[in-house]
Symmetry: C2
Subunit: 303 residues, 2 copies
């Protein structure tokens, strides 16, 4: 193995993402020292039991002391407080990064809280519907993309070090402007979550169709949406609030498209429906070809 | 094994559903004779190669001759023609059924085409995103629900025979009014498909986010929708046209709910978002507890 890009990584926030980063470091870069902190004492205790990081610290300042990379793994709107907890405790040459799902707002929050620090935001596009200190696993990032969104004029060597770390954890790396990231993720992640949360709520609230019926017949398609809609509510509240403009814009486009299909159904316009439904097959083929989904029918589910 | 509820089952339409019924019969009720027919010669040829039924016939009339159960496994709007192909060839005491995803319209089409026949519609709520004669497999119905929607006053003994067949193939059976079926499935299956088709189309058409970006970062949630949106376009066109009223009504409710979340995002109302997102978790737990989905994170996908 070539030399690890960092010697000591501090992880602030030990849920699904933070825990997975810690476990992945232990697996793929075992020489790197890891320390971690979470505001919730129960999470710290569980993180220590699962050895999500080498040392679980009692304070954020203690966790980041001496680290050459600090990764904030908390929901977008918690970045500010988490970063302020570390103020004054960072090594002057440390790189500060994060795993937040929105990047413009998070970069601003980190820069405001840590004005002296070198901040290079990142977003590994990976996750599951689970959350908390029990949810993480070492291979979460394998084959997934990690988007790094450095500020204009950032030192390319530092960006490269961060990229090398993510590559060592199994990710493929792309560098992108933060605003563009936020628009891309609005459509590939945020809008799908919003829609899944909506339809699961709609189905739960119907009067004429019981919840028991919704559950029994969910294999007709609905169950797929419930997975996404089981994601961490705090995290997703923060994503929508911190990437508001891009989400609202994509939602507007989606609503217009939905109205068109609605009109085609109302008018009995089968050709429009068929044409639309036929062209959406190709994109799944590409996703599978590029290793971003399981090729087996029904995702290879056993139930 | 107790005696099979039927001696000879004819399957009209040899795609995902028809093929799976044939394979399931061979596996779970090997004493039952199966014959089959499909309008497409290539499908008949492939069905014979895969032995989806015992005998692939050259005409529908030949396939149904002597059968005590005929199951139409074609898209909803193709039921009419498929049934007319069999007119005059059915045994007088044969039970005619189907696997269509909408029930009021399909029951009417079958009754119009075969006015002398005993028609007991059914809908196994099971499937994958694949279609055609290569897509079927014997255990598709295992643990899934099959909804039978007999007409008022139907002979309970005949309904029971059909139920026994589906149970033998691994399904759990529920009997329901056809109109109620159509409303239940509008929310658990048809609306989810419509929304998935829409969002995949929306993402494909964006100018500022490239298709390549959509594919690369699809693991953020979008990829789940592409599975459903890869389903058979003919089948789904027919579902929306044949269950129009219920789909449009559920869509209306969904759109209202989406507008509420949209408003909460615009106003920065985090509490409303959090409350909504927190209550949608419970329904997934129930779906998993009732054996209707895989409990593993990300559906247990290997990619």
């Amino acid at each position: 193995m070539t030399e690890a890009p960092f010697h000591h990584v501090a992880i602030i926030g030990l849920g699904l993402l933070g825990g997975s980063v810690g476990l992945a470091l232990a697996e793929y870069l075992p020489g790197v020292r890891t320390t971690g902190y979470d505001r919730a004492p129960a999470t710290r205790a569980r993180a220590a039991e699962r050895a999500l990081v080498g040392t679980v610290c009692a304070t954020a300042a203690e966790a980041v002391a001496g680290a050459d990379l600090v990764i904030f793994c908390v929901p977008p709107l918690a970045m500010d407080d988490a970063a302020r907890d570390c103020s004054g405790a960072l090594r002057p040459d440390a790189i500060v990064s994060d795993v937040g799902s929105s990047k413009v707002a998070v970069a601003r929050a980190l820069a405001d809280a840590l004005p002296e620090a070198t901040i290079i935001p990142a977003h590994p596009v990976a996750g599951t519907e689970n959350s908390g200190p029990d949810a993480g696993f070492a291979h979460l990032f394998k084959g997934r993309w990690c988007i790094i969104t450095p500020a204009d004029g950032e030192d390319p060597a530092k960006v490269e070090r961060l990229a090398a770390l993510w590559q060592a954890l199994g990710a493929r790396v792309e560098v992108m402007d933060a605003a563009h990231h936020d628009r891309v993720l609005a459509v590939t992640s945020h809008l799908p979550h919003l829609i899944a949360y909506t339809i699961v709520g709609t189905a739960s609230d119907l009067e004429e169709v019981t919840q028991s019926e919704v559950i029994k017949y969910s294999a007709g398609g609905f169950r797929d949406f419930t997975r996404i809609a089981a994601s961490d509510p705090t995290m997703w509240r923060d994503v929508f609030l911190s990437n508001k403009d891009a989400v609202l814009e994509m939602l507007q486009t989606f609503s217009e498209d939905l109205s068109e299909l609605q009109k085609a159904i109302r008018k009995g316009d089968g050709d429009t429906l068929f044409e639309h439904f036929a062209r959406t097959r190709a994109i799944r083929r590409s996703i599978i070809e590029q290793g971003q989904d399981d090729a087996r029918p029904n995702f290879g589910r056993t139930e």
